[in-house]
């Protein structure tokens, strides 16, 4: 039988990991935009 307290902590942990991964994705997205700059479409390949 699972311990409800352990289940609660596991859920909190999973939410924290999910939140951090989402934050990492958003940060990398912004870094990419800032590094490339606003004129992405006009850049030569």
């Amino acid at each position: 039988m699972s311990d409800p307290n352990a289940d609660k902590r596991r859920k909190q942990r999973n939410l924290a990991i999910g939140g951090l991964i989402a934050a990492f994705v958003v940060i990398v997205y912004f870094v990419t935009i800032l590094k490339i700059g606003g004129q992405i479409a006009e850049r030569p390949f």
């Binding site: 902590r9 912004f30 990419t32």
Partner: protein, 307 residues
């Protein structure tokens, strides 16, 4: 389900919540790292470097995560001795809240993420310096020197001194002599800071078998070396002013704080009877010293940039 074996107590990893994992990052050490790195970054900008504010903030975050990762890896490696010292017994692994292998994996993942993020947000030099800092703290200091020699924190102190250099490099892509001057101040500050702590926590380190200066070379020699380092550190503290990248305000602050540091270190050296109390006072002041010097550089540079 009990998991994790090895040198620390075992723990059921389902016991750990996000808070326990956060405390693996040594938040207090992390805050000092963030602060010294911020000063390195602002000094680099004041010296002519250019950086997008958002990229600077992300670089600072990456440096903070790297510092936290080092802390987690240090707790993973030192779980056995942390359980023996009053100062560290309440850390998550000795308390049985996080198992060792989870802490190790957590530290490793964060190390890779922080270096990658810094590389993306700034440049390869800053990322390489951050990777080297983590390697130095975990492998050179924690795994090798800490249990091998009373010079452990003298050499290991370099790990704590790198953040302003990493931050400077993240702005300019270079690590100039000014950045290494900030490195030198923290590097020379570390021995008197930790030996003062070791003097009044001597039993702790001896019980854990960590060869700190007081329990290997004796209290008298430690007190002598604290004073010597304090003098050299106080001189290095004035260097940013002497070299011209800090102004007269910093010069006055560093001179006054350096003199006070040297005087308190002299009290530790001279006061054989009350050495523990003097050491405690010096330890407290040492934190204020470092904070004040870096805050003075920050204040001067911000005024120069925005006023």
């Amino acid at each position: 389900m009990a998991t994790g074996t090895g040198r620390g107590r075992t723990a059921a990893f389902s016991d750990a919540g996000p808070g326990e994992y956060f405390s693996l990052l040594k938040p207090r050490v992390m805050s000092l790292v963030v602060f010294t790195a911020l000063v390195g970054m602002v000094a680099a900008v004041a010296g002519g470097g250019e950086v997008h504010p958002m990229l600077a903030a992300i670089s600072l975050l990456a440096i903070a995560i790297g510092a936290g990762a080092s802390g987690a890896l240090n707790m993973w490696w030192d779980a056995d001795i942390d359980a023996l010292m009053a100062r560290t017994v309440l850390r998550p692994i000795p308390r049985g809240l996080v198992d060792r292998s989870s802490a190790g994996a957590f530290g490793l993942v964060l190390s890779v993420l922080s270096v990658t993020l810094l590389w993306l947000a700034s440049n390869v030099l800053a990322a390489a310096l951050l990777a080297f800092t983590i390697f130095f703290y975990v492998v050179i200091y924690s795994m090798w020197l800490k249990r091998a020699t009373p010079q452990n924190i003298v050499i290991g102190g370099a790990a704590g001194a790198f953040p302003p250099v990493v931050a400077w490099a993240s702005v300019t892509g270079t690590a100039p002599v000014e950045a290494w001057t900030l490195f030198a101040i923290i590097f020379l500050w570390t021995p008197p800071h930790f030996w003062a702590l070791a003097l009044y926590r001597e039993g702790d380190y001896a019980r854990a078998g960590v060869p700190m200066m007081p329990n290997v070379r004796g209290e008298a020699e430690t007190r002598r070396q604290i004073f010597l380092y304090a003098i050299i550190m106080a001189v290095a503290g004035v260097a940013p002013f002497a070299m011209g990248f800090a102004g007269p305000f910093y010069g006055a602050v560093s001179l006054g704080m350096g003199a006070a540091f040297a005087w308190l270190a002299w009290k530790v050296r001279a006061d054989e009877q009350g050495a523990k109390r003097s050491a405690q006072r010096l330890f407290g002041f040492s934190i204020l010293y470092l904070f004040t010097l870096f805050a003075a550089i920050l204040a001067e540079d911000l005024v120069a940039l925005y006023v």
